[in-house]
């Protein structure tokens, strides 16, 4: 089998996919669902329910708060207890809707049958209609970044999409949610890909799957016989292959330029397999995005597994379903060990972007003592964006934001390869992330200033014209 991969950098962390062959279970409903209003990139959603309102699974509880935003739906049936603040995966208290669960009643508009709907049977679905349904059902990128999918499906007029690339890479260690989804819902995913291809008006689709999932590759190779426009691309295992830009390079051999360029500027629309499945359910079954596949894993966890989880289920409940927190010092991550976010508490709810709850215990949980940089440049060879992490980290530590910007710090995808590969255990990404946030703030402030100056000049000109 010929495999492909991206050309710059990359690392090979231990896979630890201990839950790969554990069949997915449906997680029990929580007693109280905590549904944060900010589950996506962009403006937080605006709550449209109030205390005492009755909701069903699939009821709209918050509408999109802007153009880059997504509506949020209730994942359970019951009564709204309050709209208050709750700690979410960011570690801060953010607005959330608390719903006391009563029974499990779904909105009637949702088609709950298992029948596979084929796109070819639904000629009424125009690209616009597909995008509208995706937007209305609150679908966001399920890979973790949670960018509203409907926006990705309407590329800017300057760019032309040529392919849809589906990300079935799951390069992050430990996580197997996408793999289980691929094994259990291959037909639906492929229909989802067809829908995505129709939405962006292209006739070529790729599904990139890493070669550490041979069963998935085999299964999809069999299934794509009925989808002549879709091709399975086996990829050599390397982290961070699941990054959009890396995947585009691996599959179609095109390099995405530095920001603000996005993959569609080189003709690729990249979506996660989870997103393809969510799009299928949203378009064909009219089912809003309110549940997802989540891996709950950890070497010391008694019964790690994969679950279909309603949004708003506290992670505590999932961990308890797997045998509870192991003894010792635990680090609980929303996501995997490379890019996951450490949580200060287990009361954090599962949201649209939670692909995994990873529990690292004892030695795995602790960082090693950092030593001085020995200038070995391993981080430079590992960086998949071709940056110089040691330099960016030093510049950020010294607050040299101008030079940081010149060295292209905003290109950093925060994959953590540099920190992973560093033999001196330097906190490279910690520094770079701080620098990136600061530089992006400076760039935004500059843009806002320029816009204000332009507006002032226009007003002045208009007055002079009068």
């Amino acid at each position: 089998m010929k495999t492909f991969t991206f050309r710059i950098g990359g690392v090979h962390p231990d896979e630890n996919k201990i839950t790969a062959e554990v069949a997915t279970k449906v997680a029990a409903l929580p007693k109280q669902a905590i549904i944060p209003l900010s589950q996506h990139i962009g403006a937080p959603a605006k709550a449209v329910v109030k205390k005492g309102d009755k909701v069903k699974a699939g009821t709209l509880i918050a509408e999109a708060g802007g153009f880059v935003s997504a509506p949020i739906f209730s994942s359970v049936s019951g009564t709204v207890a309050k709209v208050d603040m709750a700690v979410d995966a960011s570690g801060y208290r953010k607005p959330a809707v608390f719903i006391d669960v009563e029974g499990d009643e779904w909105e009637e508009s949702i088609d709950r049958s298992d029948k596979l709907e084929r796109l070819s049977d639904h000629p009424e679905l125009t690209p616009e209609e597909i995008v509208n349904r995706v937007r209305a059902n609150g679908v966001v990128g399920m890979g973790g970044a949670c960018f509203p999918t409907s926006i990705k499906l309407t590329p800017p007029p300057t760019a032309k999409a040529e392919w849809v690339i589906i990300n079935g890479v799951e390069c992050e260690p430990y996580i197997t949610a996408d793999y289980r989804l691929m094994m259990e819902h291959a037909d639906e995913i492929l229909e989802g890909v067809e829908i995505l291809m129709k939405a962006v008006k292209v006739d070529k689709g790729f599904i990139g799957i890493e070669d550490n999932k041979p069963k998935a590759i085999e299964l999809f190779n069999q299934k794509v016989k009925f989808h002549p426009n879709i091709k399975v691309v086996p990829l050599a295992k390397k982290y961070p292959q699941g990054g959009e830009k890396q995947l585009v390079d691996a599959v179609v051999r095109r390099q995405v330029p530095a920001p603000p360029a996005i993959p569609v500027n080189v003709g690729a629309v990249v979506q996660n397999v989870g997103t393809a499945f969510a799009v299928y359910e949203a378009v064909m079954k009219n089912k809003p995005l309110f549940e997802r596949y989540v891996t709950v894993t950890g070497k010391k966890l008694a019964n790690p597994g994969n679950f279909i989880v309603r949004m708003g289920t506290p992670m505590k409940q999932l961990i308890e379903a797997c045998g509870g927190l192991p003894e010792g010092d635990n680090k609980i991550l929303a996501g995997g060990p490379m890019m996951g976010k450490a949580l200060p508490t287990v009361d954090v709810p599962v949201v649209k972007g939670t692909n995994s709850v990873t529990i690292l215990t004892d030695d795995d949980a602790k960082r090693k003592e950092p030593n001085p940089c020995i200038r070995c440049a391993k981080c430079v060879s590992a960086c998949p964006m071709g940056l110089e992490p040691f330099l960016l980290a030093t510049l950020s530590a010294h607050k040299d934001w101008e030079r940081d910007e010149k060295e292209d710090i905003v290109s950093c995808i925060e994959c953590g390869s540099c920190q992973f590969t560093c033999p001196a255990h330097r906190p490279l990404l910690d520094n770079i992330r701080t620098g990136k946030q600061t530089v992006m703030g400076i760039i935004r402030a500059r843009a806002a200033e320029a816009a204000a100056a332009k507006k002032a000049a226009e007003e002045k000109a208009a007055q002079a014209a009068k």
Binding site: R93, P344, P427, D430, T434
Partner: protein, 324 residues
């Protein structure tokens, strides 16, 4: 001869160069206000940026520009202090503006005893980084992170971490109110406040937690819960609750310390007063209804009378309200 020729040649070259230099210096002379140099000389040359201008030369230029308007206005070099501003005013032939001395105040009392640690952070120990990772080691997402970005930012050795409390402490003597720590703090905890008379008599709310009462209290024993007692007791309209947090307007505050004496959370702190404050009940401090009351306080008597009773349980009541 071997010696004379080079001397003559070099002498001539030197002479020609001197003439060219002289001509150029006259022709391309940059006209600089002589007062700029004079002001720069009296400035401390710390280039701290505390005045809001890029360095001392920037401030000197601003002073000269301001002199055209006839007044120094708000310009103040906090490092040099009134003495330095007096000298600048003399140079410019103006009356020196009277600037109130200010000092950096750390508005967090989340010491290790008050604020239990719920998690352990072992990444890069700078406040900026911890702040971007989440609430930090405690449940309070607003309070001090204790990594000392402010200490690193201070050029005057005026702010230090107290290892017992894990909080920074400002040295009144050394602080020049340049504002470097204010900018360095990612959570905007440090504020420049009036230094106060005497030993620095001032009063401030020692908390910036905007969470609702119950959540704030769970995170930190010393948190302001926004109960509003200080707002009620203040006769000068100086204390206001906004976003579940009290804030004392230092221009309106008359340092009566009534707010401090009623605060159920001990979240209001004072400095430089001769005696520690006596704890009092809200009801005792509210103005008693007076028969000959004037128009303005006329509406007050009825309201406090109604509030007087629940005031004793105001803490509990507020908690219940918040939780409800």
């Amino acid at each position: 001869m071997y010696l004379i020729i080079p001397i003559i040649v070099l002498g001539l070259v030197g002479l020609i160069a001197a003439i060219i230099l002289y001509a150029c210096s006259k022709k391309f002379a940059v006209e600089e206000d002589p007062r700029l140099g004079a002001i720069s000389e009296v400035l401390p040359q710390a280039n701290c940026g505390g005045c809001g201008f890029p360095g001392c030369s920037g401030f000197a230029a601003a002073c000269v520009n301001a002199s055209a308007k006839g007044s120094l206005g708000d310009l103040n070099c906090s490092v040099g202090g009134p003495e330095c501003m007096g000298k600048i005013a003399d140079i410019l032939g103006l009356a020196a503006g009277e600037a109130t001395p200010k000092v950096a105040v750390v508005r967090c009392n989340g010491s290790c005893a008050n604020r239990p640690r719920i998690a352990q952070y072992d990444g890069l120990m700078t406040c900026r980084t911890v702040n971007s990772c989440g609430a930090g080691e405690t449940a309070c997402g607003f309070g001090c992170l204790g990594c000392g970005d402010c200490v690193a930012a201070c050029k005057f050795d005026a702010i230090h971490m107290n290892p017992e409390t894990g909080l920074p402490e400002v040295d009144d003597e050394k602080c020049v109110a340049c504002g470097a720590c204010v900018k360095a703090c990612p959570r905007f905890i440090i504020e420049l406040r009036k230094k106060g008379k005497g030993k620095g008599m001032r009063i401030w709310v020692d908390c910036v937690n905007k969470d609702k009462g119950a959540a704030a209290k769970n995170a930190c024993k010393a948190a302001c819960i926004g109960c509003g007692m200080c707002e009620k007791v203040c006769q000068f309209d100086a204390v206001h609750i906004e976003n579940n947090i009290a804030y004392i307007d230092q221009d309106k505050c008359r340092l009566c310390r009534k707010c401090e004496s009623v605060c159920p959370q001990d979240a209001i702190h004072s400095n430089g007063f001769p005696k520690p404050v006596e704890k009092k009940k809200l009801a005792d401090l509210l103005p008693k209804p007076k028969p000959e009351a004037e128009a303005a306080p006329a509406e007050q008597p009825t309201a406090p009378a109604a509030e007087a009773k629940p005031a004793e349980n105001a803490d509990n009541n507020n908690e219940q309200n918040k939780e409800a």
